[in-house]
Symmetry: none
Subunit: 537 residues, 2 copies
């Protein structure tokens, strides 16, 4: 591939199947409202096609296609080609597709002689006829037609003539796109490139698409290999959702297509540079909707995608970010993070302080003390790279000051397992906390579903004048690890918190006593919330 002037760039089409193949993900269920939200996200991004579901297969999808949905991307209905042994006009599946309020219809058809024989139990001729007649019916009904050639690559390896005949049948019947599917996900990039080249010798590449799965962790590479061999449509999903190991991840593919090497020079897509800078938000919004923890290591969009831990790397990054960044994080709406840990140097600490908004003078001699303190505390079990809010508090305490908003004078927690009045074995947890806020003293008690929960509820029950500042605070994760084993074991607790604005922060506590460690992390979380929300000291 060689460089081309912008005017001569070839158009590459993006087809999103988050709502269809992505809905096959173990643990993922979209409501109708979810689906409409995702259609919105995909339009914000600028993909060309949204495969929104399978009308007739379930009530949600049937309802979705019952009315026209506003979308710049072409809303696509997925379904099977007509069954063998019946006419297309007499096939309820095809009828449901034709009745669906969709811009395009994507038929799935087997392109493997083995599959036709074993799974469909029909003949190759019947299979070809189903493709031709179904596509013709969609075109006659004024719809754009696509054909997903299922098992195309495995089918090609076993019987190339039949696989090619399926692709040609679809194209000749009028399909806008003939999509080559690596349904089982086992095909390797060099195979994809060679096989797609064989197809584009028969069907114009401008009508060929690729649908890759991640079963060898190469769905992205397979998609790009197909493009190199001439394919001009890529099917994928947000965050790589999809059956088994997922589909090709559009959140990785889109930045590569727009930012990297000869793809950016040779192709254009419907995604603008401005939309690209929102891809991180799109990715996280989907995770939030599905209540999945974002993959912090995800390429481009992950929290750690531009994070550096090693001290030698950090000092180079501060000299020139291009030394350790393959693309600028801002281009994909992400940010540089320099992690603080016992492997970190001064540069890591400086960069992290800047990100956290803690003002610091590079020449301040207390910086060296802070670095020593971090190393000493990490040797005790603290993990500041995972606990940004605790690090920010530590730094503010050493470099500036943090108000003593309140002090805890004592607390006690009790857990008891015993028979209750009905003779059932039951466990109760309760906590009492005594807090001083200025001249006032508050004693609060609470029950909880465990000692830490009881302590958390009691602690946040009444902080006097600070209560409004912490009203929206919520614990979202709690992790415990015992360090060093044996008799000198200490417990490290990480607490993740959030508030109504969606801000998220993590704090750490370390102690031989899990309750003490949890309490320390809870206190840091509340103090951080008071500090960041501007509570008066």
């Amino acid at each position: 591939m060689t460089a081309a002037s912008p005017a001569a760039r070839e158009r590459l089409y993006l087809f999103d199947t988050t709502l269809r193949d992505g809905a096959q993900t173990n643990g993922v269920d979209f409501t109708l409202a979810d689906k409409l939200n995702v259609i919105g996200l995909l339009n914000r991004l600028g993909v060309d096609y949204v495969e929104a579901g399978y009308p007739g297969a379930n009530p949600t999808d049937t309802q979705l296609f019952a009315q026209k949905r506003p979308s710049a991307a072409r809303v696509t209905a997925f379904g099977m080609t007509k069954r063998a042994g019946r006419s297309v006009s007499n096939d309820p599946g095809v009828a449901a597709l034709l009745a669906a309020e969709a811009d395009a219809i994507c038929f799935v058809a087997k392109a493997s002689a083995f599959q036709v024989r074993v799974a469909l139990e029909t003949t190759e001729e019947e299979n070809l006829a189903s493709i031709r007649e179904s596509v013709a019916a969609a075109v006659a009904a004024g719809r754009e037609a696509l054909v997903d050639c299922e098992h195309f690559f495995d089918g090609f390896k076993e019987n190339p003539d039949f696989a090619l005949a399926c692709a040609e049948a679809a194209y000749q019947a009028g399909a806008r796109w003939v999509v080559l599917c690596d349904t089982n996900g086992g095909t390797l990039p060099h195979e994809v490139e060679a096989i797609v080249a064989r197809v584009t010798a028969r069907v114009p590449g401008s009508h060929v698409g690729i649908h890759a799965h991640n079963d060898t962790e190469q769905a992205v590479a397979n998609s790009l290999a197909a493009v190199r061999a001439g394919a001009r449509q890529i099917q994928g999903t947000l965050n790589g959702l999809g059956e088994r190991c997922g589909n090709a991840n559009l959140c990785s593919l889109i930045p590569t297509l727009l930012l990297k090497g000869d793809y950016a020079e040779r192709f254009e897509t419907g995604v603008s540079r401005e939309a690209l800078a929102e891809i991180g938000v799109v990715s996280r919004t989907l995770d939030e909707m599905l209540n999945r923890s974002p993959d912090r290591h995800a390429p481009y969009v992950g929290e750690s995608a531009f994070a550096t831990k090693a001290g030698i790397h950090a000092s180079a990054i501060l000299k020139d970010p291009a030394t350790y960044e393959h693309v600028p994080p801002e281009a994909v709406g992400n940010q540089r993070r320099v992690l603080v840990s016992d492997q970190a140097g001064r540069s890591n600490v400086l960069a992290e302080l800047e990100r956290l908004g803690v003002p610091v003078d590079r020449a301040d001699p207390r910086l060296a003390r802070l670095l020593d303190e971090v190393k000493e505390r990490e040797a005790l079990g603290y993990a500041y790279e995972a606990a940004d809010a605790s690090f920010a508090l530590l730094a503010r305490r050493m470099l500036h000051s943090v108000p003593d908003f309140f002090t805890v004078e004592r607390f006690s927690v009790k857990v008891e397992r015993r028979y209750n009045a009905k003779g059932e074995m039951t466990t109760v947890a309760e906590a009492i906390v005594k807090v001083r806020v200025g001249d006032e003293v508050f004693i609060s008690a609470a029950e909880g579903n465990g000692p830490v929960n009881a302590l958390d509820v009691a602690l946040r029950k009444d902080l006097g004048k600070y209560q409004p500042y912490i009203a929206g605070l919520r614990l979202t994760d709690y992790r415990v690890r015992i360090l060093n084993g044996g008799t000198e074991a200490v417990t490290r607790v990480l607490v993740e918190s959030t508030d109504e604005s969606g801000a998220r922060w993590t704090t750490v506590g370390v102690s031989p006593n899990i309750i003490d460690a949890s309490f320390e992390a809870l206190l840091d979380s509340i103090t951080w919330q008071l500090l960041r929300s501007g509570a008066p000291g």
Copy 2:
């Protein structure tokens, strides 16, 4: 590439850097004990090299290399080449590497003229001299030498002569391996293939390695592209740990190399088919050690890698698994997940019972009930794969019987933080446990450094006639994870125990209350110890 007879297969070397580059992962901290465990896992798998750390960079790694570690894989120490402006014999970093108890030394050296200028602030000549002299010093000290050519691909694009000069300098000075590093992770597979081919025209491919990062989600594809261009060593990590988006994932690469297409035909590695079938266990053991949730969508080893949700796929799978599986799940120690009564699940349970010494008849109808029970309890949060002793107890209870050695009638735990008589803030934890052993009742109280420790000590203080059997029991690890998040969150506790014989077992407890969950795991541990030491029922 064409097929080769087994005798003519080329050897491909695997270099694991989980303990070095993997230690750069955001949120990952290995203790010395963790590192020794991982060395064990990697030997079980059969990799050729284990890069265990960076002696001198932090106390853990210095301690690790202070003595010879038993390992079939070559234990490798990582560090920098000598600094510019000083002799190799006068460089403390190189001295630490030469003093390290390691089989091999992997030097990292810049191979980019830009990096040499901007990050190192030295000259190209100095950089080449550092490579030559450092390698020569390692070879003279009787160590195998490797050179990680940092930023090789970016450096090559900008100044191919200098990048190649670095690679050649390393090879000519006697390095066994010249490793081409895509340090920033932004190079694409077609670029890797073209550039590696340029290197193998100058340095024999049998001395060239590839070190890829996953910043475009193509670390696996890049590694394979390098092999296609002649490289014969792959560097990667378990579960793709590593800085930012991670390194090439050996848990994806190894199955592909052993099972797929022409890689399996053309190459051999140190990993046997038997070891391959344990790769899933290796992957999960590492996650468990680091207290990370396994990625259920991970290729080959993920819980969902062979799971089918779509009805049309499931019926085809039942006709012939090859219709929807690219490799047999058993080959990588995984299992098909379609139906509850599937045979793979049954054989896994049988194999595990055999391993744990629980006698069972293959035709016993209660096996199916046990399988259902395991699935139901795992859905509640139990993790029997990690908790062998709890699984063995569950199986024995359902297939045979387990004596009620003792019953706990009630317990209570109290944790209190308050000022002591000297005016110091102090935290005390104490527990009371009432146990019935036959006709005798024992009430024991104990203090501990935390509530679980207090409960454990009180529980094991006096079990009457069973006391001699549990005298050597000791808790060695304790892990907690919150599952499901939100209001329905439950806590899962894993407890690892050991006794004087060195036997080691893990038990699990699940409850909304962490104390209840911990208590359940403690009870299982004691019961298991009584059972295995032949205590009378």
